[in-house]
Symmetry: C3
Subunit: 353 residues, 3 copies
């Protein structure tokens, strides 16, 4: 069993032990489940009681956190990052077993790096490339001329269509689709004499997924009509997200589950889009902008902007207006009363010459 002293773990994250640094830690666990040989983690104040009741051998906390007396803690900043790094020590990323399974179907013209692993029932298309130490799970389908970089993990049933490019250290969760056709049709009223039809606009571009990106389960990234749909370096995309054709997602952006970005929208660096939000096409979202859950963004957002609601407005304004919305019935009653009062005043005034 992997184990470390608390002092060793503190050193890994530049943290400081308060209590017994020689304590042997055999794993990480949530506050409620952790035992005396486990390290836990406290950051969300909501879980203060669980922190106090925890049987954990030690707990990672922020440097200035108030802790119960006698509690052994590892102080580190930011505590959550320290937890992530220590958890990685106990749960290191999967290592590839360098081999192409005999039940995989690799086109003779494809190039799989000798250090890569291709599991059974995956396909690697003509001229496609799989880089060093990359792991390809069962049911992954890599189209013709696809290029996957080094140290990637492509989980089960991922599909990457022809010519799309995936960088290094990219993780694609199960069922994720890269390079599906964008949704583009031109209305053709004549339709070669057989009546109206939607004429398919060729989706001839590709998708580029840059280094250090992660894309969630069953999310879809459409290829460009012409040119490139781009997921920028280090961006992280959750499950069931839709990225339409010709979108650009800036580096280090975060897109939460079930959000959708429509065609040709450009998201800057470090943009955060929360769950189920939608962004219309052909707009620009500035660096570090934040879009609230379920927001509907219909126009440009400036750098650092924070919006909410549908249609989206600055989030502070939206919060005020939402609060007022919850008083609407009351406001209608007040309006009625005011109308009556004004009518009475007017009647009184008439009477007086």
């Amino acid at each position: 069993m992997t184990s470390f002293t608390l002092a060793e773990l503190a050193a890994r994250v530049g943290g400081e032990v308060q209590g017994d640094g020689a304590l042997r830690i055999e794993g990480v666990a949530p506050l409620e489940d952790a035992g005396p040989a486990q390290l836990s983690f406290f950051a969300n104040r909501k879980y203060r009681k669980a922190f106090e009741a925890s049987r954990a051998g030690a707990v990672i906390v922020e440097p200035d956190e108030d802790v119960p007396p006698g509690r052994t803690v590892l102080r580190a900043a930011p505590a959550y990052l320290a937890f992530a790094k220590i958890s990685t020590a106990f749960h290191p990323p999967r290592e590839p077993l360098p081999e192409v399974a005999p039940e995989a179907v690799v086109h003779p013209s494809a190039k799989v790096h000798p250090s890569a692993q291709v599991m059974p029932l995956a396909t690697v298309g003509a001229r496609a490339e799989v880089g060093p130490r990359t792991i390809v799970f069962p049911g992954v389908q890599l189209g013709e001329d696809v290029r996957i970089g080094a140290d990637c993990i492509l989980y089960a049933n991922v599909a990457v269509r022809e010519r799309c490019l995936v960088g290094d250290r990219v993780i694609l969760q199960p069922g994720c689709v890269i390079g599906s056709d964008g949704f583009g049709f031109a209305l053709d009223l004549q339709g070669e004499g057989r009546g109206p039809r939607h004429y398919k606009v060729p989706q001839a571009g590709i998708v580029v997924v840059e280094d250090d990106v992660e894309i969630g389960a069953n999310s879809c990234v459409d290829r460009a009509t012409l040119g490139v749909t781009r997921i920028g370096r280090g961006a992280k995309i959750d499950n069931l997200v839709q990225i339409a054709h010709n979108v650009e997602v800036g580096p280090l952006s975060i897109i939460a589950s079930q959000a959708g970005i429509a065609g040709s929208a450009k998201l800057g660096m470090g943009v955060v889009v929360w769950g189920q939000a939608g962004v219309v096409g052909h707009i620009t979202v500035g660096d570090r902008a934040t879009i609230a859950a379920q927001a509907g963004v219909g126009g440009d957002i400036e750098a650092g902007g924070r919006v909410a609601g549908s249609p989206a407005t600055p989030d502070v304004q939206w919060a005020r207006n939402s609060a007022a919305f919850n008083r609407l019935t009351e406001m209608r009653r007040e309006l009625r009363e005011l109308r009556a009062a004004v009518a009475r005043l007017e009647a009184e005034q008439e009477k007086k010459p």
Copy 2:
């Protein structure tokens, strides 16, 4: 061809025939399509006309339903459940054909029960187990140490990642993903000297899918960061639903299509979440609470609570405020008129000493 007398079918569901119990029934069909040898079903009053016009040999109705004279009916309570059971008599669940297809890839250390069926091009990973009478369709990928119980059906292209546990009588629709990584990153401003990055928090937990659960096509259930993401006994989840890491879905809960439950949210027993609704992380939804379609839930809901809107409020209040929202333009006009009337009154008053 399977056939039953109407009286036999009534006996199966504890119902009562009004009309000819000896009528031979060869199948079930919608009101508009049913012929004289078919049994149909009437519950939604919206379809009253179709009921009256139907050529069905007999129709299942509630015990107290008003029926046209001469119409043969099977009265049962609840009628919909009776219909479901009778339809099952005509459409029994698929039986497994006990075999592992030669084109399936089953790891030597995996255990497939002799009564189970594994179809071509499915994979069963190292040490994984498939229980009695379970059916595994083509393209299903079961990771290492996965355990699938008895009498399950896993349809095409389902992926269950390593170590996840699935109970008995579970149905997973095509493309459903169990055990994808939760969406967890810690912001690392230094990033080993190469600038900011999102450091991946290991998602080291699992998913437990309890007995009698059904999960829809292309839905995703993320594994826990630590511990367990749990789908409780008898819960039913529709297509394209997102269940984030460490969520607990209580027994018998219902989650409709495209809804999303964010990380660490706890849903009680018998909770109902309608389509496209969203629930934020780290909150508690009480037993039997109901969340309306497209609602955005940002805080705890008490047992039996009913909410709607985004941000969600009690549904009665939301309905009133939504009605008022549709009068907002009118309210603005009234406000303008009142301002003018008050100004006039004030001017008049000035004039009078």
Copy 3:
């Protein structure tokens, strides 16, 4: 390299060249990327500057478009359709390579047309049929008795469940699911003495996908409870869309990404549903109706109707009310001021006998 003169391309689309018709065109490209041997396209006025700065050899424009002097253009109506057709000349649809890969698994009773292509690791179930010139990519799973027409493309990891029917010239993007079970359960309070359960209503119907339909990546179309879920001729459905059991989508309808249509809803001909919108079950949407992004439709819509908002109302009304919503805080302030003014007036009046 494929190339055409500008005059040849104009002839293909019934357009007119203004400038050098002998210009050799080797491809199409966006305004910013196009070089002197490429044809580009200008329709969205938002990109006027890019049009003016473009190095494109020629640009497709509407017949009455104002163009900078010296710019070679191809005038055609509608310009977007002309672009689509010319782009197709450069990017013709993939041709099937008539063969069944040895790594595909085709049931002996299935019929694959000799001109069709079935790639490695696809399965074709018992009695299933694949029509002329249809292309079946790796990981596609076709269930028993499925019928796929002529000239279709089924991309990687598509699943079509038993008995579903797909017409001619249909395109299914990767991961799309046809024929998953509808979401139907009857509450069974007794549950054979073991307490309440959700009794599964057999989903015994099928899906019919008519000719010329396209369905996006990871979208789901549920089979009918009884009868048919129908996607009408020429309808186009984007990624991650949910179509529930017994829905009818009319011919030429358009459904954008992440929209959801609940059970038994009927959409007419040429209906347009924008992204993330939801339509409740058992309602009728008239021909050519338009449903705005994120709308929540709770009742019938008449032919040609245009709705927005949740709950949806006519879009003009919704736009006005949304504008008013953004003044709600201001309206509350005005109400407060009016109340104070009226109180003052009332007090004054008291004083005067």
